[in-house]
């Protein structure tokens, strides 16, 4: 009996792993294809697609495509722009949205239910519907920058950052997480003399590791993949992010090798960063031991 049961378990485990590996392969092969193709000349790249060679570094392998991609477009600038816009937005978003959620969950004030409901309602409004009005507003807003007071935010970093700092989904994530924190912990801090700001900084945020990681990853993906909005508000190359930069490679002649090289440049570092963050994320859950 026991051996049959354990055989069964072994079999089930094998099937589970087989399915997981299959799924992993389905997801990873396009990436491998992209990276491998980026090292190949266009002609070989197209020929290889019919065979398994498409996934192998074989034939005429070189970094030529990367060199050409940098010649065709200011790739480094685009990556810098995207990293800057994404990084600043993620950090500000985590600060602002967590502070907002803190006020919704822990501080008692008139109308908070109503305001929270209104914010959550924005979750069902697709960005495309507000893009045009937002463009009109952004084109008229004042900005106090290095060259004094100016009007109109088009062609800037702030136009890509500010509209995305506060959003319903991130606030919602923090609200849900904060609601599950033991209320007595916050009350204990209050009795000990902590102000709301101190409760936020010294008690709530140090325990928010998991939700910070989740919110950061989601925000990062949204921001790094921005396309429609920067296309609308940025006409100058100087502020252009990576996804809009992809246009450069679809213009006159379609150079597949260069496209693959560009895509590899903008995705592989992100993947690596994501994997790293996920590690840190799991470690942070394991170490805070919030469950206790």
């Amino acid at each position: 009996m026991a051996t049959i049961a354990s055989d069964n378990r072994g079999l089930r485990l094998a099937v589970r792993y087989a399915v997981l590996i299959l799924i992993a392969v389905i997801f990873i092969f396009p990436l491998i294809f992209m990276v491998m193709s980026s090292f190949k000349p266009d002609q070989q790249l197209l020929n290889d697609t019919g065979s398994f060679a498409a996934f192998l570094p074989v034939g005429d392998i070189s970094l030529d495509n990367y060199a050409d991609a940098f010649k065709r477009a200011p790739v480094g600038l685009f990556i810098f722009n995207s990293v800057l816009v994404t990084g600043v937005t993620v950090i500000l978003s985590l600060l602002i949205c967590s502070a907002a959620a803190f006020a919704f969950v822990f501080v008692d004030w008139r109308g908070r239910e109503l305001v929270l409901t209104a914010i959550l309602a924005t979750l069902i409004v697709p960005f495309e519907t507000i893009a045009i009005p937002l463009l009109l507003i952004a084109s008229k807003l004042p900005w106090l920058g290095f060259d004094g007071l100016t009007f109109g935010w088009l062609n800037s970093y702030q136009v890509q950052i500010v509209p995305f700092i506060a959003d319903g989904l991130t606030i919602f994530l923090f609200v849900q997480y904060f609601k599950d924190l033991p209320g007595e912990l916050i009350e204990a801090a209050r009795v000990e003399g902590a102000s709301w700001g101190q409760v936020y900084r010294k008690v709530v945020m140090p325990l928010a590791g998991p939700v910070l990681a989740t919110a950061a990853i989601l925000k990062f993906l949204v921001m790094y993949n921005q396309y429609l909005w920067p296309l609308m508000v940025v006409q100058q190359e100087g502020y252009r992010p990576v996804m809009v930069g992809l246009q450069y490679f679809f213009q006159l002649n379609r150079a597949w090798g260069e496209i693959m090289a560009y895509l590899s440049l903008i995705t592989v570092p992100v993947l690596a960063f994501y994997l790293f963050l996920q590690r840190a994320f799991i470690a942070s859950i394991a170490s805070t031991g919030v469950k206790g």
Binding site: L185, A188, A189, R190, V191, V203
Partner: protein, 374 residues
């Protein structure tokens, strides 16, 4: 050090009144326990004293100050929560020092106060640990330690022992009693467990449905419950409450009768009842004794028993032998159950007809309104 005084304290949530005008005076250095069934408003009352809930009405004084509108930190209180509420991301030392860190106290003062609290609670060796590396009892100590570090005038405890297992609870109860003796601070302690209340308190406040039922010392409440609620709540096993009718009243006694009691004469002067009144008699299980052997054997009342000795007869349904005593549950003539606490080696068995002798001078008497008659 501080006295605490509640004067007409009320709490209203929306349209429901949860605390209905409570007056309590707690002397400096007193150990006061709020006890009552779950949902009666004990925590709400304590949280109003702490400043964690707004006070809807009345005046709260701590020390010499009215503190109704002061934030918790300015009330000279420290609180220990049921869930311990120690910060999981900080070491024990950081937890203990939290309030001082917030107040930006100098490091030397912090170290000294943390060391003092750790010494009092014997947890010097745990200071660098994290809460996840502590047992339940140790976590509770950290929570108490954090309160000690504040040197508050008043310690507030909300069911601090209810998450501990039974053996640990008894130990911690004794430690709390010792802590109170050592520190001499005012302590207010909330529990639903009347044993905790009886063992710890100088003064017990019995609450039910947001109303104070009685305030007094443990023995006051035990011997002179003010009403049926307190009578049933304080004491373990519970006081037996039997319905009866007043048969006659004279200058020194009240004569009662019912199917269960036969006739029972209580020695009471000016009882304030009159013939025909419906009343309730309270008999503590520990105030019932077995009648003599011969009388037990001749199980039928014969009418010629020794005058003056009154008896209650019933059938034994359950016997619990605890060693030091034996609890017997009897079913009386009317079907009502009666519990008696008898000597540990008493000779009773299930199904036996047993006759018990009450001690009329120790019985309690309640009017139909529930109020006790003195």
């Amino acid at each position: 050090m501080a006295r605490v005084s509640l004067d007409g304290i009320r709490k209203v949530y929306g349209s429901t009144e949860v605390i209905k005008g409570v007056d309590i005076d707690i002397a400096d250095g007193e150990f006061c326990v709020f006890v009552g069934p779950s949902g009666c408003g004990k925590s709400t009352l304590l949280r109003m004293i702490a400043g964690l809930e707004d006070i809807s009405g009345g005046t709260l004084t701590i020390g010499e100050r009215v503190v109704n509108d002061l934030p918790p930190k300015d009330r000279s209180i420290a609180m220990v929560f049921q869930s311990y509420a120690i910060f999981p991301h900080m070491t024990v030392r950081e937890n203990l020092a939290f309030g001082l860190t917030i107040a930006k106290a100098p490091k030397a003062e912090k170290d000294a106060k943390v060391a003092e609290a750790a010494r009092i609670l014997k947890m010097e060796h745990l200071l660098e640990r994290r809460p996840s590396q502590l047992s339940g009892g140790q976590r509770q100590r950290v929570a108490i330690g954090r309160a000690i570090v504040r040197h508050p005038g008043v310690f507030l405890f909300d069911e601090p022992l209810s998450n501990l297992d039974a053996a640990l609870r008894v130990d911690m109860r004794m430690e709390l009693a010792k802590l109170h003796a050592d520190l001499g601070a005012t302590m207010i302690y909330v529990t639903h467990d009347q044993v905790e209340a009886m063992t710890l308190a100088d003064k017990i406040v019995v609450l039910d449905a947001g109303v104070v039922q009685q305030i007094g010392s443990p023995l006051d409440l035990y011997h002179r419950p003010a009403n049926l609620f307190v009578a049933g709540f304080i004491g373990s096993p519970k006081m037996n409450l039997l319905k009866a009718r007043v048969e006659g009243v004279d200058a020194t006694s009240v004569k009662l009768a019912s199917a269960d009691l036969g006739t029972l004469v209580l020695p009471r002067a000016n009882a304030g009842v009159s013939r025909g009144d419906e009343v309730t008699v309270g008999l503590r299980p520990h105030h019932l004794a077995t009648a003599s052997r011969e009388q037990r054997v001749g199980s039928q009342p014969t009418g010629d028993q020794r005058t003056g000795e009154q008896q209650i007869g019933g059938t034994v349904k359950l016997v619990e032998r605890l060693g030091n005593e034996t609890l017997a549950a009897l079913t009386l003539a009317s079907g009502q159950q009666l519990i008696a606490a008898l000597p540990g080696d008493v000779d009773v068995s299930i199904g036996e007809a047993l006759r018990l002798a009450p001690q009329p001078e120790r019985a309690s008497l309640f009017l139909s309104s529930g109020a006790a008659v003195n």
